[in-house]
């Protein structure tokens, strides 16, 4: 069974360039703006969309994504509405893969079976759930795989060779390598070490390996993309939204346009990645 993620990754591999994976927070700053942002992403050059599911207690996120989640929740976002965002987007784009990223509790409360049914119907292709390590696979990972939804696992600098097979066992779509021990939005780790880690993971799997946490600029995307199959950018995009909001959260410019400008630059970065590597 292939998913939109598999097809997109295969296509990019044939083109010989890494994927640009873009994260934004569903419902930030409000539903309609968020839908516009989502629609703008592939047009600006994003290959895969990661949509954040807001959670009150995002333990692995830095201040930027924490604030984005709170803005979304304040704006009335719920998991139900996040799924609706995906469905609304799907009405106009049946190709770009959508991955939901967040924490387990809202899914658990929604109900795992109901969630998977609704996610599938909304055109969701994959899930990244930060607080579900392989030890907890029975909760959501196994049911998701059965439902035909990719379960994308995070591998980290603390995931050693002994543990990697366990982390990779039920992973599908791609592997998300977290470039550092830390929270989202921290400074980018030593790119040489990241490249070595990507190669180490590739020694254990044929799945594409995407790298995230700390990538903010086109130049960083180019350097990371020279080696990885994909580059994930999140905090920089969320900040682009925050930057067009006034002190009371009012929009001072079009957030979708701000995001599109940033993503266009990042897209150029990944598109020049392999050229740079060949130099």
């Amino acid at each position: 069974m292939t998913t939109r993620i598999d097809r997109r990754m295969a296509k990019l591999k044939a083109e010989g360039r890494p994927a640009l994976v873009t994260y934004f927070m569903g419902g930030d700053p409000d539903y309609d703006s968020s839908l516009s942002i989502m629609k703008a992403l592939p047009i600006a050059g994003a290959d895969i969309i990661e949509m954040g599911m807001p959670f009150s207690d995002p333990m692995a996120d830095g201040p930027a994504i924490q604030a984005a989640g709170l803005r979304a929740l304040k704006g009335g976002q719920t998991l139900f509405k996040t799924l609706k965002l995906a469905a609304d987007f799907r009405a106009g784009d049946d190709e770009t893969p959508i991955v939901l990223m967040g924490y387990y509790n809202p899914i658990y409360i929604y109900g795992v079976d109901r969630f998977l049914t609704d996610a599938k119907a909304s055109g969701i292709d994959g899930l990244i759930v930060v607080d579900l390590p392989p030890e907890m696979d029975e909760e959501l990972c196994i049911p998701a795989l059965k439902a035909g939804v990719n379960f994308i696992r995070l591998a980290t600098p603390t995931t050693d060779d002994k543990r990697l097979p366990k982390v990779l066992e039920n992973t599908s779509g791609f592997v998300y390598y977290v470039s550092m021990t830390g929270i989202t939005g921290s400074a980018l780790a030593d790119t040489g070490k990241v490249a070595a880690a990507v190669n180490r993971i590739k020694g254990h799997t044929d799945l594409p390996v995407c790298v995230g946490f700390g990538v903010k600029t086109a130049e960083q995307a180019r350097v990371i993309g020279a080696n990885a199959d994909g580059v994930v950018v999140g905090t920089a995009i969320v900040n682009a939204v925050a930057n067009v909001l006034g002190p009371k959260g009012e929009k001072t410019a079009d957030p979708a346009e701000a995001v599109a400008t940033l993503v266009s630059g990042l897209a150029q970065g990944v598109r020049s990645a392999r050229l740079a590597a060949a130099e």
Binding site: M59, Y110, V178
Partner: protein, 416 residues
């Protein structure tokens, strides 16, 4: 909720996956997973190592001042017998206090901190982090860090920093860095989020000294085991002093470490009624309470599945309690399991009731209890007058109330 099958013993959990029935588990980011597995391995070795036990025993005795006394609260007993007579009941059980307030640092928290600092030492960690609500755990953490020469960072909600200023100063004197957390309502939940963020960032050299019997496995188990000294002592002491087991034991439950510490050694004593007291705040009708087991539902937060205060979308609520130590929207997973299995009964006590118990205990016993412990005493005040005179109740006096005098003065409209 499905009632789990009644086990032969209530003292065998958790299972190998760290589960107490459906509760507990290891719901953490991958970055932390290898560390948690390492902690589990080290803990399994330590708990059967005679040298580890001997060192902990030695510190407990000579540094913390254990065993803590089991004190017959004659003044309170007399008062509650008068209440009983006034109601025409003519009863009133004997009330005993397990005096954890007399420990070094003034609460039960030192029991856990001594155990965990020895684990951190075994694991070769270089830095200690902790979260704190009332500041009791922060003080105990800062204390053991000072004693063993570790740098220590304590995360504390900004609201709690304001209402527990004496403890903040104590931590600073002990050499710890107190980092106020402004996210959310600035209480224990937010402090725990921030501590987890620190841990995930400094995973190589940092030991996270969790203060309550919650979090990812093996924390609920190891904190319980370090705190079970409370119940083990109390059980032996009451047998010695009264020649029999108590009829009722009562403890306040925030995360629930003092409670599980008292309860666990009594769980298989079927005739002992066990009651955990949740913070009822301003009442269970609204959201201004922290009674997760009376008014919440199971969910996943801070590494474990347990009863949580949350909305229909699975977003965690902040809750409210007069007592900073109970101001947490969740509870340790073993309590959730004990609730569903029916072995332990969990009841709410309101802010006002706790305040009344705080004042009464101070006047009739000359003991200023922590507001957390005052919740447990408040429940004893409700049930003791309805019991017979030959019955026995043990209340866990988990901490002393010096830290709360500002809060109480504020509630009573006094200036100090």
């Amino acid at each position: 909720m499905n009632k789990p099958a009644m086990p032969n013993s209530f003292r065998t959990g958790p299972d190998e996956q760290g589960m107490f029935g459906i509760f507990g588990g290891r719901f953490v980011a991958e970055t932390l997973m290898p560390l948690i597995l390492d902690l589990e391995e080290q803990w399994n070795k330590a708990k059967t190592d005679p040298e580890f036990k001997a060192e902990l025993q030695n510190l407990s005795t000579h540094y913390a001042g254990r065993p803590s006394k089991l004190y017959f609260a004659e003044g309170l007993t007399k008062h509650l017998r008068e209440v009983s007579s006034a109601k025409g009941l003519g009863g009133g059980a004997k009330v005993y206090f397990k005096r954890e307030d007399l420990n070094h640092t003034g609460s039960h928290k030192i029991n856990n901190c001594l155990g965990q600092i020895l684990l951190a030492k075994r694991m070769g960690k270089k830095r200690i982090i902790a979260e704190t609500g009332a500041g009791q755990h922060g003080v105990a953490s800062a204390t053991v860090a000072a004693r063993f020469g570790y740098p220590c960072v304590v995360y504390m909600g900004a609201t709690d920093v304001a209402r527990q200023s004496p403890n903040v100063f104590r931590m600073k004197l002990l050499g710890a860095e107190v980092r106020p957390v402004t996210a959310g309502h600035g209480t224990l939940k937010d402090a725990m989020n921030e501590a987890l963020r620190d841990w995930v960032t400094n995973v190589e050299d940092t030991y996270y000294l969790i203060g309550t019997a919650a979090g990812p496995h093996p924390y609920p188990e190891l904190v319980r085991d370090f705190q079970s000294v409370i119940g083990t002592e109390a059980r032996a002491q009451i047998l010695e002093q009264e020649g029999r087991l108590p009829d009722v034991i009562i403890a306040a439950v925030g995360g629930g470490s003092n409670a599980i510490g008292l309860f666990h050694p009594f769980l298989d004593d079927k005739d002992v009624r066990i009651i955990g007291i949740e913070a009822g705040g301003r009442g269970l009708d609204g959201i201004e309470h922290c009674a997760s087991m009376n008014a919440g539902k199971p969910g996943v937060l801070h590494g474990n599945r347990t009863y949580l205060l949350q909305n229909a979308d699975g977003q965690i609520l902040d809750g409210h309690s007069i007592s900073a130590g109970l101001d947490y929207p969740g509870v340790g997973p073993e309590h959730s399991w004990l609730r569903d299995s029916g072995r332990v009964q969990y009841e709410p006590i309101l802010d006002d009731e706790a305040l009344e118990a705080f004042q009464l205990t101070t006047r009739v016993e000359g003991i200023i209890p922590a507001l957390e412990s005052a919740h447990a005493i408040a429940h004893a005040m409700k049930i003791v007058p309805t019991m017979d005179k030959d019955q026995i109740v043990i209340v866990n006096l988990s901490g002393r109330g010096d830290k709360d005098v500002h809060t109480v003065a504020n509630m009573l409209g006094m200036e100090i």
